[in-house]
Symmetry: C2
Subunit: 348 residues, 2 copies
DNA sequence: TTGTATGCGTTATCAC
DNA sequence: GTGATAACGCATACAA
């Protein structure tokens, strides 16, 4: 393959001049520049990235900050990031996976500060509505640190990109599937959320409503605090109170509790169950036939996009134009093989 | 980051000796080797791939052979490959996208021969049942050319990997969704295939049967030859003949004809429709509400895996352990944004 | 405005 | 067994 030296020779200029043209450094006579461009065309020159990286000796330093505490979904995400990190080392990119207290914007901001001071090139964080975080993001960006929000966005912030699903789409998808499962008949959906004040959950619910409006009715929402004991108690009570419920849509976490209620149900015409995130216990419930659909936000793809995006930002290859991740629909028949943790061997 | 020179210095040996150890070239005293390994551990040395690639000047040459002729699915796949090819150039990998006559094993074999003679490192082909192709694959592998089958496997061949969905899984997934849409009620599915002799279609149908057995019955299969006029005529006739049909499962192509029949249907309780492959006309039908579900084999992922796999083979990084691609379920609400052809701008 | 020279970390070749 | 060293193609500091 032709090198830049070949280009320079053909153009009748020195290597440095050719380099100035390809890297747009300026200070080249238009006449020379034109000859170089012609030579590039003629030879089909393509910049050798391996060589460029080598000569620059660039080392990328990224960090991903996830909320700590135990939650099957974030456990999965953490593992995915850790796997990605070890694989990235050969590409000269260092990815630190960190944890900060959940629901603690101040702690998050301190960590962001520290990372920036440490010279990190880019950071991925799980967004929240806290205004303080939006400010911290602006400050970081001014210091040239790339910022990507993950899973949940930070409204009103000027992060470089949001990588995650559109929750309204996820809710509408759930609505469509529940509608399909009713086959045109009337029915009543029991919505379960973590909290009605959580933006993500509210968006999902609104999406659901939009699609089922006119055909299916909704029971009052249950707020399960994303905790399985709470979900279990509340769903159990709601089902007992309202025998007309034909479907349950859980927009949040704590679904182990929901599954327990269903398992305990008598008779065989249980309500249709649609919930979010493929994690060990939802996978098991799907396989056992206790639930019907899992809508997954594909954290694997999220992680891949975050890494790719941070790299692009670090290279100043222009702004990221990330399309939202499309939520994936799983029934028991199309479940992906269960991944194992590379070290513990445990299914994640 | 530490370099191999650092390792050599710490181990008290020359650069060349350290290199012999990391690249397992042999001819090193065990004592020296041990010291080098210790130094590697201690420093956390990671081989710099950019430098290695540079010094070797390796250029990968791959080819993908697709059946020619017009078929929306393969059009899409072709575009995906072409896009991938242009992006791969910067990584020093050349990917030629070729076309050979469909259903012509001899033509395919000639092309394979020619590519091998030309020194290509790896080839992806769309498999078929033809035994001659299996033989050609063996011959190529003996010449050191990596071979990956795509979309459809070549039974009994020793290709390096198959990249595609498991058709039985796809069929079972369709069955589950149709079952769900019947909400426990009885029903009758009209199966549409290209030909019953086509292995892929037969596998899908068998998967469907497995899941719906006992609850839903099946009408006699329609063989639509994957041609929309044929499908249109046959489905139309079948629906007229059997008013008990509550669902249609199309395992093959020619679905534009199926959609036309549905569009023309009177009344509003049309059968549930599940079919395969997200292409422009199935996307439109989904958006218009003429069909319910599209099961997609995600050619994007297929293309990515093929490229990654061929590279791995060319590097002799060991055999590929590709998990099958999980078929993706689309309803109108979770459709991915329509991709555009990078040059023509046409939606694909 | 243009040109020359050096180094990045590997691989591979040749000499000891 | 071991060691020195010339490429590889690019970026860049420096010279003209």
């Amino acid at each position: 393959m032709p090198t830049l030296s070949d280009v320079a020779r053909l153009a009748g200029v020195s290597y440095a001049t050719a380099d100035r043209v390809v890297n747009a450094r300026g200070g080249v006579a238009e006449k020379s520049a034109r000859r170089v461009r012609t030579a590039i065309q003629e030879l089909g020159y393509v910049r050798n990235v391996a060589a460029a990286n080598l000569s620059q000796g660039r080392l990328y330093r990224f960090a991903a900050i996830l909320p700590d505490g135990s939650n099957a979904f974030f456990d999965r995400m953490r593992t995915l990031f850790e796997n990605a990190a070890s694989g990235l080392l050969v590409d000269r990119v260092e990815l630190a996976v960190e944890a900060v207290a959940a629901f603690d914007p101040a702690a998050l901001n301190r960590r962001l500060q520290a990372l920036a001071d440490d010279g990190v090139d880019g950071i991925a964080i799980v967004g929240s509505d806290a205004a303080e975080v939006a400010d911290a993001i602006s400050a970081l960006r001014e210091r040239g640190v790339g910022i990507i929000t993950l899973v949940s966005d930070v409204p009103g912030s000027d992060r470089d990109a949001y990588v995650g699903i559109d929750n309204a789409i996820a809710g509408r998808t759930a609505g469509r599937l529940i509608l399909l499962a009713h086959g045109g008949r009337a029915g009543r959906i029991l919505p379960v959320v973590g909290a009605l004040s959580a933006r993500d959950h509210a968006e999902r619910l609104a999406g659901l409503r939009e699609v089922v409006a006119g055909t299916l009715s909704l029971a009052p929402e249950i707020e399960g605090r994303d905790r399985h004991e709470v979900v279990e108690a509340q769903v159990s009570a709601a089902l007992a109170a309202d025998p007309a419920i034909t479907a349950i849509y859980s927009a949040g976490a704590g679904n182990a509790g929901l599954v327990r209620v269903i398992e305990a149900l008598e008779g065989d015409d249980r309500p249709v169950i649609v919930l979010h995130e493929l994690v060990p216990h939802t996978r098991r419930a799907l396989e056992a036939g206790h639930i019907d659909i899992v809508i997954d936000q594909r954290p694997e793809e999220g992680v891949a996009r975050v890494v790719e995006g941070l790299r692009q930002l670090a290279d100043r290859r222009g702004p990221i134009v990330a399309e939202p991740i499309v939520p994936s629909i799983y029934v028991r028949e199309n479940l992906p093989p269960a991944p194992n943790h590379p070290e513990t061997g445990k299914t994640i």
